[in-house]
Amino acid sequence: MKKTTFILMAIVSALFLLSWILKAGSLSGETDNYILQGFLVTFSAFLTLSVLSFLYADNPLYKFAEHLFVGVSAAFWMCMGFWTTIVQNLIPRLSDGLSKFFEQQPQPGDYNFFFFIPVILGIMLLMRLSPKGGWISRWPLAFIIGTTAGLNFVRYLRSDFIKQISNTFVPLLGTEWQGIGHFFSNLDLSASGQLVAIAANWVIFLGVFCGLIYFYFSKEHKGAFGAASKVGIWVLMLTFGASFGYTVMGRISLLVGRITFLFRDWLEIIS
């Protein structure tokens, strides 16, 4: 180990200890196990700062945090899956004894022989972990893929294709056409501001149409078709620009959350 690394590690550990002591001290009046609480708050602040250190460069602290996350979160999902789905949905359908052990109350008529199928398929899936039995894991994989394909086929067609078409049946001249003068008289967003509302409808109608032309691959984009596809790409660019502008907010929020944690829960400089 290099000397600088060693010194840095010593400094980090010292700061950690210091924060633990101070934090435990400030919590001592509030909870019984203030030593543990102090450790936990300090530890999570340490993890937060370790991840943020990536902004400077990749470093051992970041690697530590990332490796810890990988391990803990894998176990988290596993436990959640076990307690919520295996214990509550599978076991009462297969075994009375086991459900008693887990203090579940099986309902009459819960027992269902067919629920051995997912158990067998699940075990086959785990065979992937062994170097030789890997091929058998294709059966459950085929089941998973078949299910997703079957479920998605109808739902995507219905919600994202059929319904999107009928959603685009928009009036392009206003609900009650009262001539041009009335149309241009008002530029606000209220119901009487027809121009603005109808302009949006035109944009939606032409935008969807030209966007579809842009994604139409069976015809060369030349002439009128090419022009429409050009409009299509502009609409898409506006869409992506708008999405980007909208998204910035989300990304900033995450940082706000973290900094609030550091300032409030760890350093206690705000309440």
Binding site: K63, F153, S166, L172, G174, F217
Partner: protein, 416 residues
Amino acid sequence: MTPTRLHIFRVISISTICVLLLASLALSQDEATPTTNLSTEIDTVIIEVAAPTSLIATDHKYDNGERINLQWVPSIDDLPGISTVVGYRIYRQDDGGAAEAIADLPAKANHYRDENTELGHTYIYSVAALTDGAEFVSNPTESISPEREWIDFSKRYLFLIALIVGGAVIYFIEIARRGKKLFVRKIAGLEAVDDAVGRATEMGRPILFIPGIQDMDDVQTLAGLTILGRISKTIADYDTEIFMPVSRSLVMTAGREIIKSSYQTAGRPDKYSDDMVTYITDEQFGYVAAVDGIMVREKPATIFLLGAFFAESLILAETGNYIGAIQIAGTARPAQLPFFIAACDFTLIGEELFAASAYLSGEPKQLGSLKGQDVGKAIAMVILVIGALATTIGTAWNIASMNSLVDILKTIFSTS
């Protein structure tokens, strides 16, 4: 029907209704007697309320015979604010057995769906209005058996559209298999690919290829790897360096096979090495950290980001931009497209990624599928125009025929 006949018809129907009403009144008095007795037996003061009326039970349409719908007119004493009716209780007689309470509903309820019926059984229902301490039962329904329908006709249009779109895909795959050439328009991004490889060669710096962070079961990964096939051929010809860090072991195997075969075709199998494709880690941010490191250290001239990307897209594309590389990206994940468009020099947007892959591979299944999807888009465009025009004319000038056309289209293109 002639006017006189119509008149006779009216008279008959009105008198029938009157008779029915009278009969039901008579019947309801018979039924109501026990309840009155019941309420007088209790010591506390019972406020009498009218029982619910007009209870009708119907079979639930398009099910496996496990549902019966009930509808009734709530008790006339069930008034907002001052009501003494606290709720309703549903009674059911199963195959002539004793009436059992099967559900309690809040005040003002006027319908219920019994979802626990069995085929072949007959049921008789009644509804009671509940007050504090007493209940007032309605007339029972006729006996009813749930029915099973084999086909859900309410979804016939959905089925039809599924058939058309699905049929088009299968048809064109079959056509492509028989060897017919299917036209796919030129895709602008693909020309940029060759230029970008050329640029890296001129500068004498490596190329970085990132196939997204999903496994081989994602179509986007497959599309990315198809394009890798094309890129690696050019690379093998020019003898440029390529790095391909991946986050799935299966993708690593596939990537190695593709690059190796490209080098063999180019007649330089000796130049190929397994180190070109390396597995890093499955974990999203671990992968990002490592790839970021590679970018900053190796300073590749060209970066390809083709596949399924998530939140890491921004970090990767930004770092690539920072080191001044030419970047060509492509993904079908709409949430990540804005970042790629902003930070990369060229982006294959959504379906373009698949089209590019189909164009390059020439595989019947990909080309045919693309054609089939185009049929779907053509249908969408045509219906879109008809629907929007009809809506416009219909609403602006209130033309009935146009409005009914819109209604028909909306029925066909609706969700249920």
